[in-house]
Symmetry: C2
Subunit: 250 residues, 2 copies
DNA sequence: ATTTTCCTGTTTGTATACATTATCATTCGC
DNA sequence: GCGAATGATAATGTATACAAACAGGAAAAT
């Protein structure tokens, strides 16, 4: 505890536990032992328990009826529903932004991010800055969520985005570049532009429909990594939580 | 602590704190003092802090940047957005139920509840069993949320329903019967039937649109109690959180 | 008179101690 | 031999003790 980053024990507990779950260090169904983990993470049980409550909210852990909690097992259907849910709430945010009118500054900053994504994409696989795309994509969705000006909607969108594998960048992390990836990036970028256009024209229904369809791109990625691309799935954090994926520590 | 219902301190803390917020015993903007409240509620700080975290999630409290938390202030726009959000997620649940097919047993039990609501409504103001309607309405929405068979969606719907003033029964509690209330009950019941019909016919878009519009009935109630019906607002728990409502303790 | 600094009382965040409850293996009974 | 009861063990839920951070005010200096 005399370290430099003793900052806040709660954050250390949260990040440490989250990482252990996503990397599979804690396997699906494993009961999370408070004393052992607290010792490993170098924090007390109190902040660890708060972190556990947070991760239960996020859907990474589930309470056991007897007390305590375990790493949650996800099915493909769970992730699919979480993606559909994210698309729905994102759709709501975009519809409200269109109907109520988004402020020009916010729209412009979204445009700016899209331009930078164009640059990052280059035009061929070799010219694509993958890390940069991932970062900018997350930024765009973050900004987009705030265009509607509703704290309630934004807050909820942040929540569902934090669900395991449901976020817009869930399948990008650690992924290297495949040809099919680049094509999906091009499609996604086109959808980004169409969504902004719809919001500008105050076309709420169109903005909503586009946002929903855009989220479903993630579903394709999920199925890719659960199927033919399974050998690359090791790089996707959290995919070991999905039942049927036999990736364990190692 | 030697009482009969020492059951679980966490639940006592949660319910006690929630009640004090909704009844206005803790005013908007008041800082929640942990030691004082723990003493009043007869629990320790530990379960109280967990309850506070829960209520922060539900949107009744907000963290202060300095630490600790205070009773959150809501605007009409906040409640309106929460209602719209609830309608959107309820719409998703209904669309999925229609598209994927709801099991016959669940549909039948929804029918049964609707029949009992008919009975509770009677046909005139005098014949209406108000308490019963409120209870059955909550039951119906609870069942409806489960028709889609998706734990992820159901869970999220339960969450947004718990948001202050956003639930389907938020404006029913403690309300006595007014003529306009009965009319809105009749409309709501008609929408209930239409939603179930759409789900049975696998008409997803219709089910979704109906669920959204149904939620907006709550918005009318909100505006009634913020406007002409303000003198009756005292009975609506939590409405004192809405800025502009000058209802305080007493 | 105003501002700044320091002090003190209070409050939160964290750690740990305690008690109740679940878990598991062993043993007893059938 | 198998099942159920039971006791040892370990885990969670709760309470309290401690320390660091914050708020608020008084006093001193400009």
């Amino acid at each position: 505890m005399a370290e430099a980053e003793k900052k806040i024990s709660f954050q250390r507990a949260l990040m440490g536990l989250r990482e252990r779950i996503l990397t599979g260090a804690l396997g699906v169904g494993d009961r999370v032992s408070e004393v052992a983990l607290a010792r490993d993470l170098g924090v007390s049980r109190t902040p660890l328990r708060e972190a556990m409550a947070e991760l239960i909210e996020q859907g990474l852990l589930e309470r056991m009826p007897t007390g305590g909690c375990m790493v949650r097992s996800l099915t493909r259907a769970d992730v699919m529903d979480a993606i559909e849910l994210r698309g729905t709430v994102e759709g709501l945010a975009c519809r409200l932004a269109a109907e109520r009118g988004a402020d020009a500054h916010g729209l412009d900053s979204c445009d700016a991010i899209l331009a930078r994504i164009d640059t990052a994409l280059g035009g061929s696989v070799e010219q694509t800055d993958f890390e940069r795309y991932m970062d900018l994509n997350a930024q765009f969705h973050h900004r987009l969520a705030r265009l509607c000006g509703s704290a309630v909607v934004t807050r909820e969108l942040d929540r569902v985005t934090a669900m395991p594998m449901a976020g817009p960048s869930a399948f990008l992390q650690g992924q290297s570049m495949f040809p099919h990836t680049l094509r999906s990036f091009v499609v996604a970028q086109d959808q980004h532009r169409a969504i902004l256009d719809a919001i500008r024209r105050r076309e709420g229904a169109r903005a909503e429909a586009l946002a929903r369809e855009h989220a479903r791109l993630a579903l394709r990625n999920l199925d890719y990594f659960l199927g033919e691309g399974a050998r690359h799935a090791r790089r996707i954090p959290g995919i070991s939580l999905v039942a049927g994926t036999a990736l364990r520590k190692g």
